[in-house]
């Protein structure tokens, strides 16, 4: 598992209070991990800070799952 994925998983686990093994590639933040829409905004804010990147609103909307987040961040950083 890449370093990016580990760091993203840590943020998701901390923020949503879910078990680490639930945070798999296709896990949807809202449908599988119990996030509400504001949680997804906060997750994106946390990703921006952790990786020192800026995620514009239209891109943020496409980040629906753990896999989406890892893919986006790898491409952006």
């Amino acid at each position: 598992m890449s370093d990016v994925a580990d760091r993203v998983r840590k943020i998701v686990v901390e923020h949503l209070g879910v078990e680490e093994d639930k945070v798999v590639e296709g896990a949807s933040f809202i449908d599988d991990l119990g996030a509400d829409s504001l949680d997804t905004v906060e997750l994106v804010m946390a990703f921006e800070e952790e990786f020192g990147i800026e995620i514009p609103d239209d891109a943020a909307e496409t980040i629906q799952s753990f896999g989406d987040a890892v893919k986006f961040i790898k491409e952006a950083s």
Partner: protein, 245 residues
């Protein structure tokens, strides 16, 4: 009773009668204040009067880029924005059938759209802090309507609906969003009225007089305080009974 020591408050329209009084009141309760407005001299005069814990942050609210930059500037100057008071507003009164598109758009832009932008700009930090206070200064006419003020009344009613919606979304993060709706308040604007005009206004007010900026500032202080943590999405009408809503 209300202690704001350690809190940082950004106040728009701080060069005006009501905004200046809100700034003074929050400052007196211990807050550090960011004074925003278009006219620099009155802001600097107010900052000098307050002494420490006051920052001048000029901003033209009809300039979208300047509005987007303001929360960042305020956070840089003060360290954070814990309290936002959207007090700035303009009027472009005109009988509705003659109201031009630009008279409509200017008022909506400054009063409603800039409020939206500033709310968005401060909520990020408030969400992280798990606390925050947003106070939007609406108006009695947003609830009652007023001839010649279709644009202004629409902007002020819009503020109420927007505040309630934001309040829903961010309540779980410890952020409250409320409105204050002043009635007739004695300011430089109402000083221009003749005694005859003032008398005609006063008979419509059960309290028999206009309100003072300090009476609006007291409402803002309450909503900004820790004591108002469970008050959100509401509109506090401060109007001497002129409209009992």
């Amino acid at each position: 009773m209300f202690d704001l020591t350690g809190k940082n408050a950004l106040i728009t329209g701080a060069s005006g009668g009501i905004g200046g009084e809100i700034a003074k009141t929050l400052h007196a309760a211990g807050a550090t204040v960011g004074l925003s407005g278009t006219r620099v001299e009155p802001l600097e005069a107010l900052a000098a009067e307050l002494g420490g814990r006051a920052h001048v942050l000029p901003c033209n609210l009809s300039d979208a880029e300047a509005v987007d930059a303001l929360p960042k500037q305020a956070a840089e100057a003060m360290g954070s924005v814990d309290i936002l008071v959207n007090n700035a507003g303009i009027t472009r009164d005109q009988v509705f059938m003659r109201m031009k598109d630009d008279e409509w758009a200017d008022v909506i832009n400054v009063n409603l759209t800039s409020t939206m932008r500033l709310c968005k700009g401060v909520i990020r930090g408030m969400m992280k802090a798990r606390s925050g206070r947003i106070i939007n200064v609406s108006s009695i006419v947003g609830a009652t309507g007023n001839p010649g003020q279709a644009n202004y009344a629409a902007s002020k009613a819009g503020m109420v609906g927007m505040s309630k919606s934001i309040a829903y979304e961010v309540a779980s993060r410890g952020i409250t969003v409320n409105c204050i709706a002043p009635g007739f308040i004695a300011t430089a604007m109402t000083d221009k009225l003749t005694d005859d005009q003032k008398d005609k206004i006063n008979v419509q007010i059960p309290a028999g007089r206009m309100g003072t900026p300090a009476e609006i500032a007291a409402a803002a202080l309450y909503l900004a305080s820790d004591g108002a943590a469970y008050v959100t999405g509401t509109t506090l009408h401060v109007n001497g009974g002129m409209a009992m809503l």
